[in-house]
Every structure is written in structure tokens, then in C-alpha cells.
Amino acid sequence: MKGWVIALIVVGVIVLAGIGWAVSTYNGMVRDQEEIATRFSDIDVQLMRRADLIPNLVNTVKGYAAHEDKIFTEVANARSRLLAAATPVEKMAANDQLTGALGRLLAIAESYPALKANENFLRLQDELAGTENRIGYARAKYNEAVRSFNTRIKVFPASLIATRSGFEPKPYFEAEPAAKTAPRVEF
């Protein structure tokens, strides 16, 4: 009789501990997922800010280099693609294209000394560089959060919970192979 009660208590404790572990593991995964969403919105704010700086920058450059139509169109197209992008992956791809187009725009600006000395242009470049820098930093933080989540859901025994709850690994934000090459400078 006594032995039976003790066995029941032991089993009960083990079951409770198991449930407790499952709940806290599940909650941990949910929190990780929320952190990833938070990190992505950090990136998103900066992407928006970047898109908003571009018309000003293009107008300033146009004032000095009106005939460089091709690059203006290219920048404008890349910007609309960024604004139209819906998913995180699309956004990052569009952003990489925009980075390439902007690199070429700034390279063209190099051949206009009066533009290079324009204070407004310099300030816009500061803003743009700052935005780039924040995107890079936010991206690194996002990838860290994704790495932590992906590891958590793959490691046994937590992977059992992840599979049952339908948690899927999240994609990293890495530059597309095409965008990895530095912007080409054409004259």
C-alpha cells in the first residue's frame, strides 16, 4: 500500500515536471519568435527611413547632374520595389538592389565637384550612411535572434515540442549572392 502511494507520487512529480518543462520550452520559443519579429521591425523602420531619404538625395544630385537619367530611373525603380516588397525576404532583396543603385549614384556624384561640396548633399549622405549603418546593425541583431531560435527548436529534446507546435526555422538575412559584389563604378 505504502509503496504504491510513493510510486504514484514519484510518477506524478515526473509528469508535472515534464509538463512544466514542455510549457516553459514552448513559451521560450514563442518569446524567441516575438524577439525575431521585434528585430525585424527595427530593420523595417530603417528601410522606410532610407526610402524616404532618397527623393531628396536624387533631387539634390539632379540639380548638378541632370543628364544622368539612367541612374535616376534605376534608383527610383529600386526604391519603388523596396516600398512594394511585402515579405521580409523580398524587402531585403529589394534593399540590396537599392544599395547597388545608390552606390552607383554616389559614384557618379564624385565627378561633380560642386555637388560634392554642397552641404545639403553632404548631410543627406550622412543620413543615408547612418541609415545604412543602422540597417547593418539591426540585421546583425536579427540574425542573432534567428540563430538562437533556430538552435533552440533543433536541439533535442526541445525539438519534439517545436515539431508538435509547428515551429519552423526562420531565414537569415544574408545578402543575395548578386548583391554581394560591391557596386560597380561606371563612367
Binding site: V45, A107, E110, N120, A129, G130, N133, Y137, R139, P183
Partner: protein
């Protein structure tokens, strides 16, 4: 072929930040945050260093935030923006509540400099204003070989921005800086979005971290750094956060 000065270099820096593993530079170590002024390159003499440290102490005691100066001999090829974030993450100047830290970085042999602006000061000192201070005050002073004077004037200009008509006793010989029109600040709808996102995050974070501390911001804050070995009263960083704001330049 010329490459646009820091516009492109920042683009590259952003690129490199993504690659994580595949670095093409040696990472120089971030020195300990042992005082307001850490000069590893010997650009300042002891008297200048002491004077700047006492100005920066006054800056902190006036409640403007916490500003630090770091001068290194060389970045060994690392983009200054990336090095700046490494310093910011280790030093954490500024308070945890206000994120009002600032770091002025100078890399002697690279002739590169950067003002790293804490998260809470990004509105007051936006990237363009940081760039204006670099171009109009620091670059000319560095070109003339007067780093101490440039740094002193830059601290003064920054203090004036944070406290336009407050108690900061500004230096009469600081050249006035021409800042751009406020039109260069965030457009209204972006500002609105930022506020909405911030509010949503705030709510989210407070739900997620109820009773668990601020885990969302990458682990517990390490306590204040140095123990005041330099010029009394220095207590190390206060846990201020940075998100990559500020501006870079070359001289």
C-alpha cells in the same frame, strides 16, 4: 578612380556587418573604459587629456549624458562604423534609462573619425548634425594638428545642441556650426510610424518581460565598467544603448 568618401565606405560597412564570419580585417581589441579620454595613439599630451576629461566630467555632471573619447593608432582595416559599435557595446556610456551616451572615435593612421550617438540622443543629434560637427569643427582642427582643440570644441558644440539655452557654460572660442534645415529630419509619416512601432514594442516587451528583467535587449547588462582609476569620479558606462547612429569622416 575615386570612391566617394564615407558614403560608400558606410555602405560597405553595412555589407560587411552581414557577413559575420567572413571578415577581411583583424579585429583590434576594444580597450577597457578606464576614463573619459582613452588615448592609445598618443595624440594628446597628459595636460590636454586631463583637461578634456574634466570637461567631459562636467558634461556628465550637468546631466547632458555621458561622452567618451577613444583614440586608437589604427583600425587595421576594420570599418570605423563597425569598430564604433564594438566600442559602444563594451563601454555602454550613457544611462540605461536615457541611452544618452556619445563616443568620439579617432583612428590616427587611418585619418578617420566618427561620432557614435546613443539611441536616446539620435533625435537631438541626428546624423547630419553629427556630420556637420565633424566637417566644420573636427576635420579642420585635425588637419591643423590641433586634436585637443577640435575635441574640446566638438564637446562644446554637442553640449549646446543637447542643452540649447541651459546651464552649460559654453566656450566662447568654439566656432559656430551651420546646421541644415530641420526639413532633413524624419518626415512626419516615418516619425509617426516610429512612434507607433516604439509603442507597440514597448507594450510587447513589457508583456514578455514581466518580472524577468529586460531580456529582450540581448542579455543582462554588465554592471558599470571601470572603477574610477582615472581622474576621480569616473564610474564607467551606465548601460546606454546604441543603434548605429552618428556620422563618420576623414581628415
Amino acid at each position: 578612380m575615386q570612391i566617394p568618401a564615407f558614403g560608400l565606405s558606410a555602405l560597405y560597412a553595412a555589407f560587411f556587418l552581414l557577413f559575420g564570419g567572413s571578415r577581411i580585417w583583424a579585429e583590434i581589441p576594444v580597450p577597457p573604459f578606464s576614463g573619459y579620454v582613452v588615448d592609445q595613439a598618443g595624440m594628446l599630451n597628459p595636460a590636454e587629456r586631463e583637461a578634456l576629461a574634466s570637461t567631459l566630467r562636467r558634461f556628465e555632471e550637468s546631466g547632458l549624458g555621458q561622452m567618451a573619447v577613444l583614440i586608437v593608432p589604427s583600425l587595421e582595416g576594420e570599418p570605423i562604423e563597425r569598430f564604433g559599435m564594438r566600442v559602444a557595446e563594451k563601454w555602454k556610456p550613457g544611462s540605461k534609462q536615457n541611452d544618452n551616451g556619445l563616443i568620439l572615435l579617432i583612428a590616427r593612421d587611418d585619418r578617420a573619425l566618427r561620432i557614435e550617438v546613443g539611441y536616446g540622443l539620435e533625435g537631438t543629434i541626428n546624423d547630419a548634425k553629427a556630420g556637420d560637427i565633424i566637417r566644420q569643427i573636427l576635420v579642420p582642427a585635425l588637419r591643423e594638428g590641433k586634436p585637443a582643440e577640435g575635441i574640446r570644441h566638438a564637446i562644446d558644440a554637442i553640449a549646446k545642441l543637447i542643452q540649447p539655452d541651459g546651464t552649460w557654460e559654453s566656450d566662447p572660442d568654439t566656432p559656430s556650426v551651420r546646421y541644415g534645415a530641420d526639413a532633413e529630419e524624419l518626415p512626419p509619416h516615418v516619425r509617426l510610424l516610429a512612434i507607433v512601432v516604439f509603442f507597440a514594442l514597448f507594450v510587447l516587451i513589457s508583456i514578455l518581460t514581466r518580472g524577468r528583467g529586460w531580456i529582450i535587449f540581448g542579455g543582462p547588462f554588465r554592471g558599470a565598467g571601470g572603477s574610477g582609476s582615472f581622474g576621480g569620479g569616473f564610474r564607467g558606462g551606465g548601460g546606454g544603448r546604441f543603434s548605429g547612429g552618428g556620422a563618420s569622416g576623414r581628415w
